[in-house]
Structure formats: C-alpha cells, structure tokens
C-alpha cells in the first residue's frame, strides 16, 4: 500500500488494475495516432493519406503490425548481440514508465474507494519524467552503437548531443510553473491552475517547453537524429521488424508523454475554462482531448517546417532557448517572491 499525496491509501490490486488500464489505453491509442498523423499529413499536402485498408483506412496500423511481425529478424554481423536486443526494450520501457505520471483526473470515488486517475503521483513530479527521459536516451545510444554501423553511430551521437542540450532548456522551462504552483506534484499543479491556466502567465516557459519537447522526442523540425536524407533513419538504421516497431512506438509514446506533461503543466490538465465543472468521469476525456490537440500541433509543425542544420540546432538550443528559459525562471521567482512578501 502506498500513501498518495492526496492523503489516502490505494490497495495494491487497484494499482495493478490501474497500470493495466493505462497501459492498455496508451498502446491502444498509439496506432490511432499513427494513422491520424499519416492522414493529417496527407491533408496538409492536398491528398487523402491511407484510405484503402478498412473503413477510411483505419485498419492500416493493423495491417502494418502484421507486416512488421512477419518480417525476418535480421541482425548485422558487426552488431553487439545482447545490447542490440536490449536497446529497443529500454526505449519502450522508459516511455511507458514516463507515461504513468500523466494525470487523467483527480481521485474520485469508484466503488466506494478513492482511485487516482493516474499511474502514480510522485512528490518529485516532472523530475520523474526527466529521469526516465534520460534512461530512454540509453535506448537510443545503445541501439545506435550496438548496431555496428556508421549511420547508426552518427545518429546515436547526434541523439546524445541533441537530447542533452534540449533537456536543460526543457527542465528550466518547467521551473517557472513549479515556482508558481509551489509544488512538484502534478495533481497539485493542476489544482493550482483553477484560476488561470499556466500557459498565460508562463507563456515564455510554454514556448520554450514546446520547442524543447519537439527536440526531445526527435520530431520535425528537430528530427536530425533520424534524418532520413543523410543518415537513413540514424540510430535505428539496422533495426527491422518488431524491434523497429518498438522504437517507433517509443517515439510516439514519448510524444504522448510530452503532450500529457504540457497539458498538465500549462493547459490546465482536466480543468475546463469558464467555470465549467463536468462530472469526474469526463476528466480523462478532457485530458485526452487536449493531448489530441497538442499532437495535432506536433503534426502540423512536421508538415510545415524543414529540418534544421546541426549548427542551427545547437545555437538555437544553447543561445536562444536556454537564456530564455533561465530568464523566465528568474523573473518568475522574483515576481512570486515580490507578490508573497
């Protein structure tokens, strides 16, 4: 039994059921996101996207899973066996673990007991996400290095530099929110947004966090870790079949985690504006809806912006985002101290 921050106990079996449900929902939504991305990208280019398999092409991910699962399990001669196998596992494990922290609602009474609509509510909140982000980065590094290919190695090196540079700004961008809310617990932060969602007072933090998130999850325009043009997919060049699917799933799951964190910290979590207070069972759908909008924005950006050059990436991260995030944290701290004293 664990004592949640909200001050109530949760039985162990509730936690197991909860984790299974969240895991099931996350992995169930992933294929939908993939097909949604492809269809939306199509619309951005005046075409339909996949629409042949099943009604409106909705069964496309199913067909692709069958395709990937039946592929040959190939491995380069130069690959370092155990690491090559374990790398995608680390990637997907870290992504799933990070997803546990996204709160989908408060802790309503379900069948007489209070159940928190989130995997866990740790007292260190965002730090937990960054910890698992750092572990996920081992998945990329090991995968790229253990493949024994130059493309993969270069991709892994880029991933290392990029993730480290942008994690700093991403973390600093959240400091403002944490200072304003006065808590690291994500549910507390959501409750603190009752008056105003944090993306208005923390606008700079929101912008910096969004930009850094694009880099953290290797999405366009910061996808030069994969850079199909020059690195032919970077760290997972040598991966095929289900192992590559594991990497892809981890990438999209990371996208969901980042959207979830952004929704929780900046867009008011399960709260609705204008004082609308729906029943507790609507909360998860509100969070999912906001995440959906954020992911739409991800895709929109991907359809619009070209990939950055490597030096542009570095100078953008260190010369623009990092000073902005630091300034934001400083100004927020000063304002909070001035208001409270």
């Amino acid at each position: 039994m664990t004592l949640g921050l909200a001050g109530y106990y949760e039985a162990w079996w509730i936690q197991i059921i909860k984790s299974l449900v969240i895991f099931g929902i996350a992995l169930g939504i992933l294929p939908l996101i993939i097909v949604y991305e492809r269809k939306l990208l199509g619309r951005f280019q005046n075409r339909y996207g996949p629409n042949r398999v099943g009604p409106f092409g909705l069964l496309q991910p199913l067909a692709e899973i069958v395709k990937f699962a039946t592929k040959e399990d190939s491995r380069p001669v130069t690959a370092v066996g155990p690491l090559y196998v374990i790398a995608p596992v680390i990637s997907i494990l870290a992504a799933v673990a990070a997803f546990a922290i996204v709160p989908f609602g408060d802790a309503p009474h379900i069948f007489g007991t209070r159940v928190g609509l989130y995997g866990i509510d740790t007292s260190i909140g965002p730090l937990y996400v960054f910890a698992f982000g750092a572990i996920a980065f081992y998945g990329l590094m090991l995968g790229g290095w253990a493949s024994g290919s130059k493309y993969s190695y270069l991709g892994a090196m880029r991933a290392a530099a990029q993730l480290i540079s942008y994690e700093v700004s991403q973390g600093l961008a959240l400091i403002g929110v944490v200072i304003t809310a006065g808590s690291l617990s994500l549910t507390h932060i959501v409750h603190a947004q009752g008056g105003m969602w944090y993306f208005i007072p923390q606008f700079v933090g929101f912008i910096v966090f969004t930009c850094a998130s694009f880099a953290e999850v290797n999405r366009a325009p910061f996808d030069l870790v994969e850079a199909d043009a020059e690195l032919v997919a970077g760290y997972f060049t040598e991966y095929g079949g289900t192992r590559m699917v594991a990497y892809l799933f981890a990438e999209y799951l990371n996208m969901m985690v980042v959207s979830g964190i952004a929704v929780t910290l900046f867009l008011g979590g399960w709260l609705l504006p204008f004082g609308i207070d729906p029943p507790a069972w609507v909360d998860p759908f509100i969070v999912l809806g906001k995440m959906f909008l954020f992911i739409t924005f991800f895709i929109w950006i991907r359809a619009t912006l070209p990939r950055l050059r490597y030096d542009q990436l570095m100078s953008f991260g260190w010369k623009i985002l990092l000073p902005l995030a630091t300034l934001n944290a400083l100004v927020t701290a000063i304002v909070v101290v001035a208001v409270h004293s």
Binding site: G42, R43, F44, Q45, N46, R47, Y48, W300, I301, A303, T304, L305, I320
Partner: protein, 177 residues
C-alpha cells in the same frame, strides 16, 4: 607567396544581418506564415483522383488500345487484309494473314479479308501509324489504357477481341473540359 586573386574577385552582395530582435521576429513570423500556408492546404481540400474508382477522362485523340471496325449497315468487316498496317508498324507487332472472300462466306466488303489479325499489345508502342496507313479506316486507336495482364500470351489480341466493344468504356473528355 600568397596568390592574388586580382581583378577576378567577386564581391557577394548580402542583405544586412537582421540582429537579435529582428532575427527572432523573422524566425517566429516566418514560422507562423508557414503554419498558415500548410493550414490553407487543409482548407483547400484534396485534389487526389481515386484512380481505380475515378478515372481521368481521356482526350478524343488519346491513343489507347486498337479497335477494328465493321460497316454499320451491312455488318461486314472494313479490313480487307492488305497488311499495310503491319508494314507501317515500327514495333512489328501486327500479324495479318489474308484469305479470299467466297460467295458462301463473305466476311469483308473487299476481295479479301483478314483470316488472322493479331496485335501483340505488349510490343505495341501506340504510335498510331497503323491507323494512318489503313486505306479503309478499318483500324483506329481506341481509348482503353488498362491493358495489364498476368501472362504475355494474354496480351496478344486476336481479331475477335479487337472487333468487340470494350466492356468498360474509358471516360472521354467532353468539349472544353
């Protein structure tokens, strides 16, 4: 000793550097403009033609699969088996074997008729010379272009196949379309 470029120097004209604020505004503003551009594509709608269900109508002079013709009143074949089309064919894909019309079996309007008339579609380059060479307008280029098949043998079109009306007519582009 350093080499002097002399008069061949090219002075590159550059726009003034925008500076920090200008650069940030430019990057941000141009990003927003790009987002607007891509969103306009969504509003614009889809221009894809869903091919097997929807087809692009062909122009009247489109050169598709050949057709052989009959006289509409008598039903006799126009082809008299002169082999001029086979002679004109640069790909050498037409084979004609002529036979004499008799009083009992009258196939064509002329003295002779084509007993065998085969076009190897897999060799045909759709140049239309056969149509030009034909003195009786017996062979013309039709509008069908979906000609793929599973074996090469199936792509040799016999006289009966060429005389028959195509099962599914290719849409024809109308006047001014």
């Amino acid at each position: 000793m350093s080499w002097s470029p002399g008069e061949d120097q090219i002075v590159v004209q550059r726009a003034p550097e925008p500076g920090a604020a200008g650069g940030a505004y430019r990057a941000f503003g141009e990003t927003l403009r790009g987002l607007k551009t891509t969103f306009a594509r969504v509003v614009e709608g889809v221009t894809t033609i869903q091919y097997p269900e929807q087809k692009v109508p062909v122009y009247p002079r489109f050169r598709g699969r050949h057709k052989l013709h009959r006289f509409e009143d008598t039903g006799l074949e126009k082809c008299v088996g002169c082999s001029l089309c086979a002679a004109a064919c640069p790909a050498d894909c037409i084979r004609v074997v002529a036979a004499e019309n008799t009083a009992e079996t009258r196939v064509s309007a002329g003295e002779r008729y084509a007993a065998v008339y085969e076009i190897n579609i897999s060799r045909c380059i759709f140049c239309g010379y056969c149509e030009v060479a034909c003195p009786f307008d017996a062979i013309t280029m039709g509008h069908d272009f979906e000609l793929s098949d599973y074996s090469r043998a199936d792509l040799i079109f016999t006289k009966e196949m060429l005389l028959a009306e195509p099962i599914e007519a290719t849409p024809l582009r109308g006047e001014g379309e």
